[in-house]
Symmetry: C2
Subunit: 454 residues, 2 copies
């Protein structure tokens, strides 16, 4: 076989015997087309102004209109001199991705400082959430605290109360682990049959990062904590929200709970608790106390305000469940999902996320007919304990209405419930801990809608 | 035990019976000190202006000077109202981390468009490299290419040459995998016994990300590639550098080679080939062609300019080794490392990175005496094939000179060589593929220096 030439930076006039003319035309049209909208224009903007970057456009690109495809009109980037290295000492995404943002839900809360922003799950790949798109939940706003002035104290039932500088913490033995963090209130509005338009708003209070820090047990041992009688700790944040949460000692002695300073390879972001936050794998986000300044060892739960008043589950009998901290097994299809539009029939890659606060995801099944039939999805590796797991499954859309669902099972054998099953136990008046199966209706016109099956 | 109150957002006057007075003083001094430099001021700025954020300061913080520690002077963040959610729709690091940047080496190349920027390994945690700090290597600068206009062509020994839009690629079955990418020229200047000051410059042409894309084999199958006679492909980039590289078909049929659009959860960054790059796990970075526009199937290596003129190894006998693409097993201690300063004796966490282009890292040993004695380091999980692996090991510095080294072994049994062993085979005139054991000299004054042992 004759090889083409590749030494000029220009695509040579291609030998006709191994290229189809249409392919050539299309490639050469690259420079002059500029007429076709990219995929994100193909998605109907959802009510809240969210669009998606993911690709679902026509399989047959429009051929160029007129002109000789053999006349090279190469784009500037194919011939010119680009930007130099370290143009951005700290780089940022393409300008073409500027609509991929975390977004708040105006009206959900009275102030933006005691509110939430949602991660754009419909636009994310894999299991790592870019730190710039990590969901936010603040109780009195976020701060950029000077780490040289930050202190972390351990007191309570300990032999020698200690105060640590950041310097002292960062020279101790560290570990790095991937974990998801999910707000206990994720998917909250769906309890009330309010079908918000996009997966960003239904499920966007979850993110997953590689965290680096010192196991809390190491610090407790330095302080000589009474691990026999000290059954709980209180974790306290340094910001004005006075966030205080009880953590059972059993989670700490397992080595899982971290006093973390690193996230996705760099220091925590200010919105995520810089310079220090608690990492409590599998437990709802509110317990991952940000701006962590103190841990107190005690012998009973502390019934702090965010335990005694908020983050409880109102049950059908009128009682509240308290200290329901573990995020149970859950999953969601992120693409296709609400607000997206399928532009034609044919092949699609259905993808989504699954997780469990009790360990590893064992299996994810996907239905395209509202739960009548299920097929097992492919899990991307690594499948890690208390981390997001990415699933993918093939689907050929025949153009008729379809209802997409995913159902996760974790290594304990627990299976994600339907809304019917969840409401039978929990009723409909909860705010927190909604892990029901999500349904997306693909309509004949290709538009995807959030629906709840009765 | 009596619990303290936690409902006011203020730290209450602490009961004296379970806090040591010094600890209290230190915590309360938080608001007013402002006199102690943070850790990065404690590091001597290395020649090239690199500082490190990692912690090595004194174990006993300076007590506050005067004042009643019981008079609360809380910092603004402990009482005020912070920033609201989505202040940054796409967030960024703390202002206190602004010195953590990728940096070029002025003088290394004549233009910044045909140059390299190095990742600040001394400041990174875990295995994920933040995309904003990913090293760069450009041959004619970088571009932010409009994805709606980008096309990817498959031609050569195929039944039906194809041209794909981004839309079409992104609806195909995708996979997500963590892999390192290392420039073949990483650690190049150390061949000549030039001991550059910091690990950012000795080893900073490596990064690790979670990549998402379509296996190239899927696309080749769509085009009906001749997998029997097509033993190689040529991958061609769309920028003006005319980057073209030969990839053996055996790597592709294994499913490992990806046509990738996703990196660390979002779209590739412009500097890393947005919107499409080749991912060739284990192979030197130059083969991970950026701005990928074409793959041609052929029956012999292409001897493209960056294979016939560059990226070859000059051997002691005067011959050149060609197509030495696989990055062999290597490791480096990232902290303590060149340019950092240990401020006192005592405990330190020695940490670093290990990797192999042939599979998983099996073991890393660390020496603090220049290779006379070795101890086995702890590997952070997950340990993934052809990805970075983070290692940690405890060390108590006695204040005397020490030489820190790490030595990695991969699952094939290959052991990272000393400089003596490497030079015995490769000589001293190579540019590429230096995977020798790195030595850091800790001097009595705590300053860490790059040294090469004979």
């Amino acid at each position: 076989m004759k090889q083409a030439q590749h030494d000029s930076g220009r695509l040579q006039k291609a030998p006709e015997n191994f290229l189809d003319p249409q392919g050539i035309k299309t490639v050469f049209a690259e420079a002059k087309s500029g007429r076709r909208g990219f995929i994100r224009q193909a998605f109907a903007a959802a009510a809240a102004g969210v669009a998606a970057p993911m690709a679902m456009a026509q399989a047959n690109p429009v051929p160029p209109e007129g002109g000789d495809p053999y006349i090279l009109q190469l784009p500037e980037h194919a011939t010119g001199l680009g930007q130099g290295v370290a143009t951005e000492g700290y780089g940022k995404p393409s300008k073409f991705e500027s609509n991929i943002q975390r977004r708040q839900s105006p009206g959900l809360t009275q102030t933006t400082q005691a509110s939430v922003s949602f991660a754009p799950l419909q636009s994310l790949f894999g299991i790592v959430t870019p730190s710039g798109l990590h969901f936010e939940r603040h109780h009195q706003g976020w701060w950029d605290i000077d780490p040289s002035k930050h202190r972390f104290m351990i007191n309570g039932m300990v032999k020698s109360p200690k105060v640590f500088t950041m310097d002292e913490i960062m020279r101790l033995p560290s570990v790095s682990r991937f974990h998801f963090i999910e707000c206990g209130a994720n998917t909250a509005v769906e309890w009330g049959n309010v079908a918000v338009p996009t997966v960003q708003y239904t499920h966007g209070m979850i993110s997953c990062s590689e965290f680096t820090g010192v196991p809390l047990i190491t610090l407790l041992e330095i302080a000589g904590a009474d691990l026999k009688n000290g059954k709980f700790v209180l974790a306290e944040g340094g910001d004005g929200s006075s966030m205080t949460r009880t953590i059972p000692m059993s989670l700490i002695t397992s080595g899982e709970v971290l006093v973390a300073y690193g996230q996705n390879g760099e220091m925590l972001r200010p919105e995520n608790g810089y310079p220090l936050r608690l990492v409590v794998p599998g437990v709802q986000g509110v317990s991952w106390v940000k701006y962590l300044r103190r841990v107190e060892v005690g012998d009973m739960p502390y019934a702090a305000k965010d335990e005694a008043v908020h983050y409880m589950d109102l049950m059908p009998d009128g009682n509240h469940r308290q200290y329901t901290n573990i995020q149970e097994c859950k999953s969601v299809v992120t693409t296709p999902s609400g607000g997206q539009v399928l532009l034609d029939k044919g092949f699609y890659n259905i993808t989504g996320l699954a997780w469990s606060g009790k360990g590893k995801v064992k299996r994810v099944d996907v239905s395209v007919d509202g739960g009548r039939n299920w097929r097992q999805a492919r899990l991307e590796t690594p499948v890690l304990s208390k981390a997001l797991t990415r699933f993918n499954i093939d689907w050929i859309w025949d153009g008729r209405p379809a209802i997409l669902q995913s159902r996760a099972m974790d290594e304990t054998g627990y299976v994600q419930p339907t809304y019917k099953q969840l409401r039978a136990v929990r009723g409909t008046r909860s705010i927190y801990h909604n892990n029901a199966i999500q349904s997306w209706l693909v309509q004949e016109n290709g538009e995807v809608k959030n629906v709840q099956l009765s």
